[in-house]
């Protein structure tokens, strides 16, 4: 009884009435002042991050169990699955560090948004199948109470890969592998192609593989926002800053065969705040490198690759920035509503966009023509010289088209074998990778996030075995070459 009156008195009496009259402010402003005072008291109480000297709410916490470098779709997916699979609930503190909260250069939002199972490596097919499942049930996975359901605008129109004489045997093999994993792909002869899609010119095409289900394209921004919203509701902390330094300690250990190995462990991550010289050292147990196209630079900060070339210490993370262009054009006589995501044998691709006869497409340049990745400027001559001729040859209606707009984005290109790097580094034992997907990261993000979370929490892959995607393959030289890269 006494406590209750004291509490009521404390909250309403002297502070409320007293402050208004002391400061001489009007009675009308009392509510505003009351809420300010309540906020201040709340931050002073234990659990709030009040510092008596200055405001530090923009800084990341001083310690976090997992620090995820990079807040794109892969980083957020890892954060989501870490929070979903942790036992007990709320056990792990996760911090996501993203230096650009507008995502202006992130690969996720600049992506064309396609998802397919037509890969040559079986693990890629499995990753993609799970991701499609995730996208289909996205409102069960990413449901946040009292927020509207997500609509990722999935177009289930499928992918159509065309192969010339040379590639026909490889395509047949790939389709066999894909069917074994459960993808719904069918092979079509040029005759069947002409019947189904009369707007295609089948000259030079020996075989085509068409995905009937679980393939198409969707809106990556919606997936990113949905993940972000859900992950924030699960208690993941976000920080707007850049990782500039890792503080680690080394241990000289002996392997079972007597070799000496220098194992490093990262203890602190220095996060530099945007547009400031201030940085915060964050103590951490695990660092996840999901920095996309900039993962190579983050890996160098951790000392990966500092060593004599040819040794495990000297093996760098072979992920680089590669610039790719996407063009949007309008063609009123172009193919209709049934247009799938078409990939020509020359590497040119296009897909329908919306209902107004607009199409998105592009082409990956060869190694010699790689544009300078310093900026995201678009080269329109590239469209004239390299994209339009094969397009017009494949779809005669595209001889008359008008380019409406274009943009450029980065691939986190793995120069070794164009497949992702997943799992811990053998020497820097608490750095985990989730990067290097060279253009198919968005479509595998949910599954890769789950795999990394399983690796972090359990120590091994449980659902999809991605042991062939570990870092050690760069040293041992075992390529997991993916042939169907666009």
């Amino acid at each position: 009884m006494l406590r209750r009156t004291l509490l009521l008195g404390l909250c309403r009496g002297p502070l409320g009435r007293g402050l208004g009259t002391h400061r001489g402010g009007s009675i009308l402003d009392r509510d505003g002042k009351m809420s300010e005072i309540k906020k201040k008291i709340q931050s002073i109480l234990p659990g709030g991050d009040w510092n008596p000297l200055y405001d530090t709410s923009y800084l990341p916490p001083e310690g976090s169990d997992v620090v995820i470098v990079g807040g794109g779709v892969l980083g957020l997916s890892v954060a989501y699955w870490l929070k979903k699979l942790e036992k007990p609930r709320g056990a792990i503190r996760v911090l996501v560090v993203e230096r650009d909260h507008t995502y202006s250069r992130a690969s996720t939002v600049l992506s064309v948004g396609g998802i397919r199972q037509q890969f040559s490596v079986p693990e890629n097919v499995q990753l993609s199948l799970f991701s499609v499942d995730f996208l289909r049930n996205i409102n069960e996975y990413l449901a946040v109470a009292d927020d509207p359901p997500l609509d990722i605008q999935f177009n289930p129109s499928g992918y159509l890969l065309l192969a010339s004489e040379k590639g026909a045997a490889i395509m047949e093999n790939n389709v066999k592998v894909q069917r074994q994993e459960g993808a719904k792909v069918c092979l079509m002869s040029p005759e069947q192609l002409r019947n189904k899609f009369p707007w295609i010119n089948t000259e030079g095409v020996a075989l085509a593989s068409y995905g009937m289900e679980h393939e198409g394209w969707f809106d990556p921004w919606c997936l990113l926002q949905g993940l972000r919203r859900k992950v924030q509701s699960m208690g993941v902390l976000f920080c707007r800053g850049e990782v500039t330094r890792f503080v680690s300690s080394s241990n000289l250990m002996k392997t079972a065969s007597g070799e000496e190995v220098n194992l490093k462990r990262i203890h602190e991550v220095h996060v530099k705040i945007d547009q400031s010289l201030e940085y915060q050292p964050v103590e951490c147990a695990i660092v996840v490198n999901a920095a996309g196209a900039w993962s190579g630079q983050v890996a160098e900060l951790a000392g990966i690759g500092n060593g004599p070339p040819g040794t495990l210490q000297g093996t760098k993370l072979p992920v680089e920035l590669r610039k790719r262009y996407v063009y949007l054009w309008h063609c009123p006589q172009g193919p209709g509503l049934e247009t799938p995501f078409v990939i020509d044998p020359s590497g040119t691709y296009f897909r329908r966009e919306g209902l107004g006869h607009n199409y998105l497409g592009g082409c990956s340049p060869t190694e010699e023509e790689e544009p300078d990745p310093g900026n995201l400027e678009v080269d329109h001559d590239f469209f004239q010289d390299r994209v339009w001729p094969p397009l017009a040859q494949r779809v005669p209606a595209f001889e008359t088209l008008k380019v409406r707009s274009a943009w450029a984005g980065y691939y986190d290109y793995n120069t070794f074998d164009q497949n992702g790097v997943v799992g811990p580094h053998p020497l820097v034992i608490n750095m985990y990778f989730a990067t290097g997907f060279s253009g198919h990261g968005l479509q595998q993000a949910p599954a890769v996030g789950r795999a990394v979370a399983e690796m972090v929490l359990e120590g091994h892959f449980q659902t999809i075995n991605l042991s062939s995607f570990l870092f050690s393959r760069f040293y041992s030289g075992e390529k997991v070459q993916e042939h169907n890269i666009i």
Binding site: M1, R3, R4, L7, L8, C11, R12, K38, I41, Q42, L45, G47, R136, E140, A143, A145, D146, Q153, F154, N155, P156, S157, G158, M212, E213, H214, G216, G336, L337, E338, R352, L355
Partner: protein
């Protein structure tokens, strides 16, 4: 009142209310305020915000609300489970028919009359002997059939007519699954399905045998008139019932609807 104070501001172990943090904002409304809020309210909208209010402050209410939502979802899953034992014993046609009848829809076997459940949901099991007779028409209007439930329908290889009017869980993903029925399906009706959009309609081009398609009254389609034209182009031998081509067009200043009956598009 006093005893309530002790339980609420105690360690939180007592009773089932665990406070998330000493929330001074909630507290200033007074302990009496909290007990006032717990009293049941009549209006549903008020009830939802009450649940939200409590769920923001108590872990247990949050867990209860999540549990209620999950139960709703699992109810739909339960309705769509496949009847494998019936499939093994009587064959795919009978299993599919049983599935539809159980959901509240109607089935017509080849050469027979429509079989419908009565108001109570009961139906006669005479069709169990029709193991070799294919199912020709399915009327699943208003049923809670979803992506999983389509498994039972896709086994009906000679299905000619499928009505999915006003089905709340049929969406674009479900439409992409219909391609195994391409050789037999002649009539498809999607009128009134709230989740079907033009993206799902784009994958109906697999159904080359389709003669009648009803895509009227689809609220999720952004431009119904244009979509209908594009679908007609995509399926040239199919009669498409849908919105008028001018629906969704903005009327120009000279075409504003006049009071007298004029020849303006609806």
């Amino acid at each position: 009142m006093g005893s309530q104070t002790r339980t609420l501001w105690g360690s939180g172990r007592i009773g089932s209310l665990h406070l998330v943090a000493p929330v001074w904002n909630g507290g200033t409304r007074g302990i009496g305020g909290l007990s006032r809020v717990v009293a049941p309210e009549g209006n549903q909208k008020k009830g939802r915000s009450l649940l939200q209010f409590l769920a923001d402050r108590f872990y247990d209410v949050e867990a209860l609300r999540d549990h209620l939502l999950r139960k709703q979802v699992s109810k739909v899953h339960q309705k769509n489970r496949p009847f494998n034992h019936i499939n093994q014993r009587y064959g795919p046609y009978v299993a599919g028919a049983y599935f539809i009848l159980k959901q509240g829809g109607a089935v017509r076997f080849q050469g027979r009359e429509w079989i419908r459940p009565n108001q109570r949901g009961h139906f006669s099991l005479d069709f169990l002997k029709l193991q070799a007779v294919p199912v020709e028409a399915v009327d699943a209007s208003g049923c809670a059939i979803n992506y999983q439930g389509l498994d039972s329908l896709l086994a009906l290889k000679e299905l000619q007519s499928l009505w999915l009017q006003r089905c709340p869980h049929v969406d674009d993903w479900c439409l992409s699954r219909l391609h195994p029925l391409a050789s037999s399906l002649q009539e498809l009706s999607l009128a009134g399905c709230p989740r079907v959009s033009e993206r799902g309609l784009a994958c109906l081009h697999h159904l080359w045998n389709l003669r009648r398609l009803d895509i009227s009254d689809l609220p999720a389609v952004s431009s119904p008139g244009l979509t209908r034209i594009l679908v007609e182009e995509m399926l040239p031998s199919c009669e498409v019932l849908g919105a008028d081509w001018a629906q969704g067009l903005k009327l120009g200043p000279e075409e504003q609807p006049r009071d007298t009956a004029g020849p303006t598009p609806a």
